[in-house]
Subunit: 201 residues, 2 copies
């Protein structure tokens, strides 16, 4: 299946500012994108990047569209098609395969905090809208378009990496470039009372 991966080249991952400066956030976002593309390819699918600006050095097609995320994705929404966010650093081929094999006109993977981390669209009536509480909007939109909806229950795909707490998950459960890069920067786990935090000594 064609799998679209939207990728912002404009100040990515701003909520990681307490741990990473602007250049580092660009580097980390790029590592996460590479991990997502690898998982999609290793699952046997064909990723394409939809980027807000030029992205060099990727061996996959890059569609440059300067518009916001939703119109840029909707312009490419020729079903059947999957959309997978570029910051799913824990994505594995198995998880991508579960997504793509799940039946339904619209298949949704919620992200923590109300987002939508991945979709499969099999009905041309459906449009994406990533603004705000998008998982609720996507459920409503599918209903209005008379589409059947299925949700995929995956910790790996529901974990988008936005905040320092998410780095804990990447360090604990990741094995790709993103995890290696964080370790190279000296970012590491710090046990606290009852759970685990991150620190950059």
């Amino acid at each position: 299946m064609r799998v679209l991966v939207p990728y912002s080249t404009r100040d990515p991952k701003s909520r990681l500012a307490p741990f990473l400066d602007a250049d580092e956030r660009v580097s980390f976002a790029r590592r996460m994108l590479e991990d997502v593309l690898t998982a999609i390819r290793d699952a046997g699918h064909a990723p394409e990047v939809i980027a807000t600006g030029a992205v060099a050095g990727l061996d996959v097609p890059v569609i440059v569209d300067e518009r916001h995320l939703s119109p840029a994705v909707n312009a490419q929404l020729d079903p059947p098609v999957a959309i997978v966010m570029a910051d799913l650093a824990l994505a594995t081929p198995v998880a991508i395969q579960r997504l793509v094999e799940t039946p339904g006109d619209v298949v949704l993977v919620p992200g923590r905090g109300g987002g939508t981390n991945a979709l499969v669209v099999r009905d041309a009536a459906f449009r994406v809208d990533f603004h705000g509480n998008s998982i609720a909007d996507h459920r409503d939109g599918a209903r209005r378009s008379d589409c059947t909806t299925t949700e995929v229950d995956s910790y790996r795909l529901s974990t988008d990496v936005d905040e320092p707490a998410d780095l804990v998950e990447v360090l604990l459960h990741g094995s790709g470039r993103s995890t290696g890069w964080l370790r190279e920067q000296g970012i590491r786990l710090r046990p606290t009372e009852g759970h685990v935090d991150v620190e950059r000594p």
Copy 2:
């Protein structure tokens, strides 16, 4: 399968203090326990509660053990057996069934922040240890006991409810007593820039 549900009657859910007072935290923890027991029963399994003190009004066996979580669970660890934490407010029968049907001497479900939210134990050599970064300790312990290990990739089972941010997930994706109780207390979603938060006006 026999499914053990450890439940603390001592100051539960203390990290929810910004939103709920001590009595409310007890009420909320009880609603979450009931949701977990319902999911296990609806999946066709037999839950038993392991509690640190007396728990009234439950129609399942309650084993009272005043010790810490790990020795109390290990005392009941006669395989095959599953252990499911009592604060998995988003657990569904489908997710419980996936857990129980996953093969492996030791089946692990990580919790966010380094914890272990659920296990299946099919080898008597394995012991639980819930202290600190328990998912890493459980992986190591399974290896030392020559047990095969499998992990279940489930957002619903990986979401233990410890912090205010977790209440967002309960309000967005729950449909049980816990979600209803939060709404009755006036706790509701508040859209913010880029994601969703909770508020109690």
